[in-house]
């Protein structure tokens, strides 16, 4: 965008510039690489582990009389493992997204909320980062 290019020509570092908008602009995003997919996978593995504990361990503890038939059924329990793995992935994806997007934090909100809501693109410059 022309305004951003002008700021860069004026020597404002990219780290001092925050662009806010009411829709995604698909600009190059400064900051560390996202780990949302990795945490989604971790959540899935944790969910699966919990499901195995819940089904296998508790079923064995109950002490059902089955006349020698197996208490643990991999096919049947596998369905519950799949569902809870998906649930773990979903919850972890949400959690990681909230952390990486720096949402749900205490502190001062944006000064420019109303302008963003009106459809304007707001470029905020951090004066602390521009000094030196």
């Amino acid at each position: 965008m022309a305004a951003l290019q002008q700021l860069e020509r004026d020597g404002v570092p990219k780290s001092a510039i925050t662009v806010m908008s009411s829709e995604p602009l698909h600009l190059e995003c400064e900051g560390p690489k996202t780990r949302i997919p990795l945490f989604g996978i971790i959540g899935g593995l944790l969910g699966a582990a919990f499901a195995i504990l819940l089904t296998v361990w508790t079923s064995k503890r109950v002490g059902l009389v089955t006349g020698g038939m197996p208490i643990v059924s991999p096919w049947a329990f596998g369905i519950i493992v799949f569902e809870l793995a998906a649930l773990g992935a979903i919850l972890m994806t949400l959690g990681r997204m909230v952390v990486e997007a720096r949402l749900a934090r205490r502190g001062r909100g944006s000064d420019y909320g109303k302008m963003v809501a009106e459809g304007k693109i707001v470029i905020e410059i951090d004066p602390g980062a521009t000094k030196g």
């Binding site: 305004a3 829709e23 997919p37 049947a76 369905i79 569902e83 720096r102 304007k120 693109i121 004066p127």
Partner: protein, 455 residues
Amino acid sequence: MKDLQPNSNSETITADLLRPLSKPGLGWYTTVTISGLLVLLAAVALGYQFTKGLGVWGINRPVFWALDITNFVFWIGISHAGTLISAILRVTGAEWRRPVTRCAEAITVFALMIGALFPIIHLGRPQFFYWLVPYPNERGLWPNFRSPLAWDFFAINTYLLGSIIYLYLPLIPDLALLRDKSSGLFRRVYGALCLGWRGTQLQWDRLERAVRAMAVIIIPVAVSVHTIVSWDFAMTIRPMWHSTMFGPYFVAGAIFSGIAALILAMAVIRRVFHLENYLRPVHFNNLGLLLLTMSLIWFYFTFAEYLTSWYGNEPEEMAVFRSKVSGVYAPLFWGTVVCCFAIPAPLLAIKRFRTIKGTMVASVLVVIGMWFERFLIIVPTLTQPKFTFNWGSYTPTWVELSLTAGTFGYFVLLYSIFSRLFPIIAIWEYKEGLPLGEHGEQTVVGVPDAELESV
């Protein structure tokens, strides 16, 4: 009908899509009143059932499942519209989906909530449903994880939580918009719900990545849910239930009924909230084509299922087969074929008829047909089990019929309230899809606590 062009001014779009929240119009109040009355009727019926017991239903040996499970399967099926349509269209990058996704996602959440009520209602003593929860107790009870009914619990709850999150994530930016345009209590509530969203590019990037990840995760969950519901029947050895095809058959039927429900919801919203510029004939045309595809798939599965039973000629299967095709349930069966295939397929196949009205007519028929299809899967098999001495019949009572009507009222009521509190079309997603040059935003440069400078 003239295909109106989308309104290209950003502020006008925001104003149009937020107007239903402040000025819903007479149509909204009428809808809420009628649906509220249906919910009241269902509440009276439910209260009567709780005090008198399940004997007020028409179920009796051997028909232990009837309208309760019909409604359960039907509403879980309807829920497949939302998440599947929204997720699949997002994953495939179909740009026309933008005004449709939130309508669809909301349908999923509310339909699932209603469907999930029935396993509790049909317990007879629903106040003891917590006995089914696995925690250490002295009742000697523990869930049977080998049962499809236990799988249902995990599948439906996973899908419900996932769908709520999938509806919530893309709603965050619109909640921030509502926060900035509201005051008082609404501002505080929207502010809390949007988690302090500012609209920075980092936030947008992470939100879009999370939504894409969710879309990929939710598709297999949605497929698994109705497959597991189908296994409540297929894992038994009752005639015309014990079929390997039930999984895909149910999923196809769920998507089929879900798309029809979505078309109906969109048509009503378009009319009631005057969103003709946003929910355009092209959306109904595309969803109509999807509905046509599902109608053909549904017919294929139904034909294969019945042909297999007829060709096998097993006595127990043929008894149920005959009762559906030429016996006491024949009017319902052939009515289902007419409603789900004979009328909708040609109606949707001919482009001239694939208008908003045409797709609405087809959708109404499909919703009715699919409800009866669920009934026909469940009740005829139960009336004629393997041992003929045990054969019976079933007639619904006013309590069951009231509960059924109440579910439709409850769904419409929840949807109406949702559309009054939140924009039913995702504003940021719609604007994102506009061609370059039509966004019309102004750029403002600022430093906190300093003067603003327009660029």
